[in-house]
Amino acid sequence: MPVEKKYETPLLDQLESGGWPSFVKEIKSAAEDNAMANDLLGLLEQSYQEKIGHWKHGGIVGVMGYGGGVIGRYTDLPEKYPAISHFHTMRINQPAGWFYTSEALRTLCDIWDAHGSGLTNMHGSTGDIIFLGTRTEELEPIFSKLTAAGFDLGGSGSDVRTPSCCCGKARCEWACYDTMGLTYYITNRYQDELHRPAFPYKMKFKMSGCPNDCVASVARADISIIGTWRDEIQVNQEEVRNYAKSGLDITKEIAMLCPGKCIEWNGNEIQIDNSNCRHCMHCINLMPKALAPGKDRGAAILVGSKAPIVEGALLSSVLVPFIKLEEPYDDLEIWELIENMWDIWCEEGKNRERIGEFIQRVGLGNFLDAVGLEPQPEMVAFPRDNPYVFYEEYFEEEEDQ
């Protein structure tokens, strides 16, 4: 139903100028027939004028039985903007690799047009499909329609957040394991942990098919599963020569930038000392027709990264340098390791302490001891420099002396 324009928005209007698509344009378009979007324009303009946000956080709203997936929002100016007195966000579990049919997208949009602001965020930083703005009484009807269409809510709060992955083998030749298959498996395996928050704080899984790490799992996930290989980089010398002929300076642009300093180019062939390769993908990215990851493929499991919220940002540390990730996934040993880590974190972690912060606090050496893993060289970022790993036998020897 058409909605009458209620607000002048001179400050927001400025954000429509320029070539890039503007969120203001989208909100205005939604506001033509959605009262929530219309009031949102008024509230946002007021916020821009006053330089003050006008939102309150709600901590209880959700759907029956779930502890995640809905983030409560209310405006603190409900009399002035009644259509957005409730403006809750819903997180919908995205399909692995963000693949949809156009029909599935239409279904999602129809549900949202009927019950919410019509504004979405595809996709939020968590990876989920984000529905922006609905009322408390609309949550259950939306949830019923979503589940009938085969969708489910994602995670929020202190739970397993919606696992996300790169498109992996569905579209990318570098994928060292089936990221989408594993993500689907993890989503199903940890349904209880996803919907019923039971941890000190959030727990994110992100799966990347190779070290290019297109989902930034090394920086954004409590558990990063990053594809890699343990044999030799595959080389097609003919194609290497073609790259050189077409103007690529292999010495300057590849060999000299190789972090392992393990590439030599004699003008005719390249030699790679695979024992010193850091698996950074640089050479493969620059000569995709000539080089490819090895054939013995799997993944490294890393733990502990996070974006800055309560404390500063952290990158992941290697926990398992290499594991074959093949079906049946039920048989993989990593689940026991992950669940042991959760037990220790739940037992000893402080409220709102991410697992990476917990590991920093107790020390990686103690953490490894507690989860029953032996220290390995791959866990050390800077050999002879790293304070995390120590070898008890040294201390025993010293004591004996």
């Binding site: 709600g58 209880i60 409730h86 209880d192 019923r196 409220n351």
Partner: protein, 82 residues
């Protein structure tokens, strides 16, 4: 012998009800309290998880979020507008 599901539900509910307004309980706090009460008979991954799930599905408890996720008695939240 494993501790009975109804017994765990009753215990968890009472812990939360008796301290409402004074203490916020996370799922991990409930598990720790039950481990102290029931010792080795208590399995947090089995009966512990099931108890919380049923209490929430029956509407006796709700999940809340204030910085972290908690389990509380259902109540009207302070921030809500009518």
């Amino acid at each position: 012998m494993a501790v009975d599901l109804e017994k765990v539900k009753e215990t968890m509910f009472k812990l939360i009800k008796d301290s409402a307004g004074m203490k916020k309980w996370k799922a991990t706090d409930l598990h720790k309290a039950c481990e102290e009460l029931f010792g080795d008979e208590y399995d947090k991954r089995g009966v512990g998880k099931d108890a919380i799930k049923e209490l929430v599905e029956e509407g006796k408890l709700v999940y809340t979020y204030f910085g972290g996720s908690y389990l509380e008695l259902p109540h009207r939240e302070g921030a809500a507008n009518d």
